[in-house]
Symmetry: C2
Subunit: 349 residues, 2 copies
């Protein structure tokens, strides 16, 4: 089947580009001796996770237990969940998962560490716990190298837990002093820091500039999107994910409406102008979205589409698109080769 | 099971409030002799659609064919799709659906009408087509009453199609002159306008102020959200949908992080400040979202939560939340009564 025959809106992955993106970033990290631990939240597809591991990834990163369970079912055996796991229901699932795969998690408080320790007590398991460090993002994470040391010591002395290192996100140029100092303080106390985990697609080609970083978590590098393009981390001809839509209305000479909206692209702007890049009309602007409509301003375009014409959109943010589609269609040179179920989509817990 | 035992994040519907919301708006429309055709995109749950029809709705509104198919499977027999249906794949499904239920659609161009006519040719079916009018929103729709008349005439003379009236969205105070003029022009030509379909939850209590409107499409009135609250259409104690989350991090005295992010609430701002209202901490602000984290500023709160505390969030926009959860949990006075699958979730086509 040709991709032109797919009904719209449809999310399409260029398999040649996907494979090249996986190989290129793996080669870069391997060259610099940095372990690759891709974040599967971007694709949520076990088949792509297996491609990443086959290319050389040491394991994967999942943001939710539910994603990790899907990936474990698919045979992935080394999973990092850089998230504070809290509450009886999740801790029970975490323990079950720790029996099946090499598992590591992150924590940023004594309360979280206590919960993890209680869950592991009496199981005979030893869970690897990294300390999450807030190196400038202002989300989770301990606030100072001294706090990182304190939490590392708590992890190390909690039965059933093993201090596994430090993690941060994203690996911006500012992380250096914090990570350097935390590693130094820990080594001064005789504590080995076996992993320092950084991440982020925007800064992925700078991973080697952080001497502390031993592993890297990137997600979007497999697909690319407008955010990744603006960050300069990828080129347009490397973008592997497009959403094919149909122009369903041309109510005025300047205005068009496509059959993709916030239910197709999400409302994520990430500081960008507009909600996507239309490849056939790069001067057009997707100026507003409702759930099933994208309103496009074609006023800067000399050629303009007719009702029924199909247009391909590079979304602002590929990860959120993966959570909106039950299936992704893999194509090669315009032919449909595979339809992948987004098996870890919608795993809210 | 008590709702306190549900793992987070979880979307919870207060069934008492849901039932009251359905009854209250139905009573209002019935009192004014306006047909109720609720938009099911808000809930995407057949059981709730059946409650709406049982309360007196003449039928339902769906935005996508896939939603309509799910609802037809559930026994709903009168469905309006106010969307330009284009392309062979969708027209084939539309024809199949027209054999099963009383179906109507909207169109805003001759190209769309031609496609609908071709699809119906030779089927023996007669599809009801309303003309979509752009009365100020700037999305789809014919631009003038004269264009509406022209398209109505085209529909009326196309074999297999039946002119079914006019539709617009939203029913803001500005729609009056356009709709009045269009109806007058059509009647002058001897063309009956049996339906004039308006909609929108924000303006729902003003439906009776538009004498032209014969039916009303509202969606959000069943759940309510911050958008509906700001519009003054609902009160906080009527809001039926909350997302229960857990505080997973308190990295600084002012900052907290909850386990709901854009994958839980969506990134929709709709002109509001912040991404949701935390009921237990109304002065708190959800200042940013990543996919699985909501960053909360508690600086205006005298009491602040500890790690592990559960907080309930009224989202900005309830419709998009329904598309992010596979299940909704119905509770009554704190007890879990039912778990509904969001059966029409993710119907992108």
């Amino acid at each position: 089947m040709r991709m032109d025959a797919l009904d719209t809106p449809v999310a399409v992955i260029d398999l040649d580009r996907l494979e090249r993106n996986i190989a290129r970033f793996q080669a870069y990290l391997s060259q610099h001796g940095i372990a690759n631990r891709p974040h599967i939240k971007t694709h949520k597809i076990p088949q792509i996770a297996r491609m990443q591991v086959a290319a050389g990834a040491v394991g994967i990163t999942c943001q939710k237990l539910g994603e990790a369970e899907v990936m474990a079912d698919a045979g992935i055996d080394d999973i990092f969940i850089p998230y504070n796991i809290i509450g009886a229901a999740k801790l029970e699932r975490l323990t079950a998962l720790a029996r099946r795969v090499r598992l590591s998690v992150a924590a940023d408080s004594a309360a979280v560490v206590a919960g993890l320790g209680n869950a592991m007590a009496g199981t005979g398991l030893e869970l690897t716990v990294l300390v999450e460090c807030d190196t400038g993002m202002g989300r989770c994470g301990v606030q100072t190298p001294a706090e990182a040391v304190e939490l590392a010591l708590l992890i190390a002395r909690t039965p059933g837990l093993r201090f596994g290192g430090l993690m941060t996100y994203p690996s911006s140029p500012e992380i250096g002093p914090f990570m350097h100092e935390a590693v130094r303080l820990l080594r001064d106390r005789g504590i080995a820091v076996e992993r320092v985990s950084g991440g982020g697609t925007a800064g992925m080609w700078h991973a080697h500039e952080h001497p502390e970083i031993t592993e890297y978590r990137a997600g979007m590098y497999i697909y690319g999107d407008r955010y990744t393009l603006r960050a300069g981390a990828m080129q347009l001809e490397e973008c592997a994910l497009t959403i094919i839509t149909t122009v369903v209305s041309r109510p005025t000479p300047d205005r068009g409406v496509i059959d993709g909206g916030s239910k197709t692209f999400s409302s994520d702007l990430l500081g960008l102008e507009g909600y996507g890049l239309i490849l056939e009309y790069p001067e057009a602007r997707i100026i507003s979205l409702s759930e099933e409509h994208g309103v496009v301003d074609f006023s800067r375009c000399t050629q303009r589409p007719a009702v029924g014409e199909r247009v391909s959109v590079i979304p602002n943010h590929c990860c959120v698109v993966s959570n909106l589609f039950d299936e992704m269609v893999g194509v090669r040179r315009g032919d449909v080769e595979v339809v992948w179920r987004v098996a870890a989509r919608g795993m809210v817990r």
